[in-house]
């Protein structure tokens, strides 16, 4: 199967601290990958490096045949959730997504509405994001990640704060995306999520794959 992302011998240091230590992984298209590991094991740093937010100290990340930081700064076919989703708290959920969609100008109102409905949010709601629960913010985070129909999804703890219904909804969405040929890479503390969803699981410890 074709390769979506290749992480080649990637090392990331912050001063004396080695956050990633010679990581080698290849992610194929149309699969769901799980990354597990304790807090501070390097999962988020690895994700940020794959997106292009952090430049590796050594090694390289190749997305769709293009090297991040050399051929491109950021991949154009990605959707992401990293850390706790941050939004403009005085805007509604729809307005937030409209703002983000206005950057790439790939989609219109209908696709924004669809992505919100897909995660169980009402696009017509006048509720400001500042009044959202953690679960609703997480759903909105997933909606922004999937709304532009990206080929690759990088999701750091996407089930955080979701109730059982929310977790099931997100699992269904991710399995649906897999059927559409999308590549999903997710980090989760929940072993059940990993077992139910992932084709391949990697474990990280102290910045290394174990």
């Amino acid at each position: 199967m074709a390769e979506a992302i290749r992480v080649e011998n990637v090392t990331k240091r912050f001063g004396e601290v080695v956050a990633l230590d010679r990581i080698n992984i290849s992610f194929e298209k149309g699969k769901i990958y799980g990354i597990i590991g304790r807090n501070g094991s390097g999962k988020t740093v690895l994700f940020k490096t794959m997106i292009g937010y952090l430049k590796p100290t050594g090694g390289r990340v190749v997305v769709g045949g293009k090297e991040i930081g050399k051929d491109i700064d950021f991949a154009d076919n990605m959707g992401i959730i990293i850390e706790n989703p941050g939004f403009l708290s005085r805007y509604t959920g729809y307005k937030n997504l409209e703002y983000l969609a206005s950057i790439r100008k790939l989609i219109g109102r209908e696709q924004i509405r669809e992505s919100m409905e897909r995660v169980g949010l009402d696009p017509d709601s006048r509720k400001k994001v500042g009044k959202y629960s953690l679960g609703m913010r997480q759903r909105l985070g997933i909606a922004q990640a999937i709304m532009e129909n990206p080929d690759i999804l990088i999701l750091d703890e996407p089930m955080n704060g979701l109730d059982n219904q929310g977790v099931n909804d997100v699992r269904d969405i991710l399995l649906g995306l897999k059927k559409e040929g999308k590549t999903v890479i997710l980090a989760s503390h929940n072993k059940e999520d990993i077992e139910v969803l992932c084709d391949t699981v990697y474990e990280m410890e102290h910045g290394r794959l174990v």
């Binding site: 937010y53 430049k55 941050g86 939004f87 005085r90 937030n96 983000l100 950057i103």
Partner: protein, 209 residues
């Protein structure tokens, strides 16, 4: 003339004061600048929350930087104009508008606007660096300290940034002062330099978020 709130807040500090550093007019001058920096800082902080989802959507770091810079400077212009309008409205309500001619109003507004634009540009640039939480304070100090230096040392007063937005310290005012054309061009050059320095800094930066 001095009773107009618009003039008190935006025209600057007259040079014919007997005090070395005229604190009351200087405080009045700094008041709208404080509001300006507060508003621009609030906007910066608000947008930072969503940066993790927006940055990669620009495709390139330089593409992000240009749009980010322009958006923030435009917000600065809107804030500056809004402050001018609010204070002008105060003069209208208090019946002081009669003290202002259209020409005087335009001269004061243009100088203050250009000065605000350069301040907004410095703000966006400095906000890239790890010192970002100190930026409003640093710019406030830049304004205050350079004005005070200009007051104490006449030979360098025209070159002092803190003077550049003040109509009453400019060549447009009857007592004369810094050459307006040169200063407006200088502020435009500083704006362009801020964009260029930011772009070069980002090229060398390894961690964006």
């Amino acid at each position: 003339m001095s009773e107009s709130v618009f003039i008190r807040l935006f025209a600057g500090v007259p040079s014919d004061y007997f005090e070395a550093i005229p604190l009351i007019p200087f405080g009045q001058w700094l008041l709208p600048i404080g509001f300006f920096l507060l508003t621009v800082g609030f906007y910066a902080e608000r947008n930072r929350k969503v940066e993790i989802f927006s940055l990669y959507r620009y495709g390139t770091v330089s593409g992000w930087w240009i749009r980010h810079f322009v958006k923030r400077v435009i917000f600065g212009i809107k804030t500056a104009v809004l402050l001018l309008i609010i204070v002008l409205a105060c003069d209208i309500v208090m019946g002081k508008l009669i003290l202002l001619s259209a020409g005087l109003l335009a001269k004061i507004s243009v100088l203050w606007l250009f000065h605000s634009i350069s301040m907004a540009a410095f703000f966006v640039l400095l906000d890239l660096f790890p010192i970002r939480r100190f930026v409003p304070g640093m710019l406030f100090l830049l304004e205050g300290v350079t004005f005070m230096i200009g007051c104490r040392i006449c030979a360098v007063s025209h070159a002092m940034y803190g003077m550049w937005g003040m109509y009453l310290r400019s060549s447009l005012y009857e007592t004369g002062g810094f050459p307006v054309g040169v200063i407006i061009v200088t502020e435009a050059v500083l704006l362009a330099a801020s964009i260029a320095i930011g772009r070069e800094y980002l090229k060398k930066e390894t961690d964006y978020i």
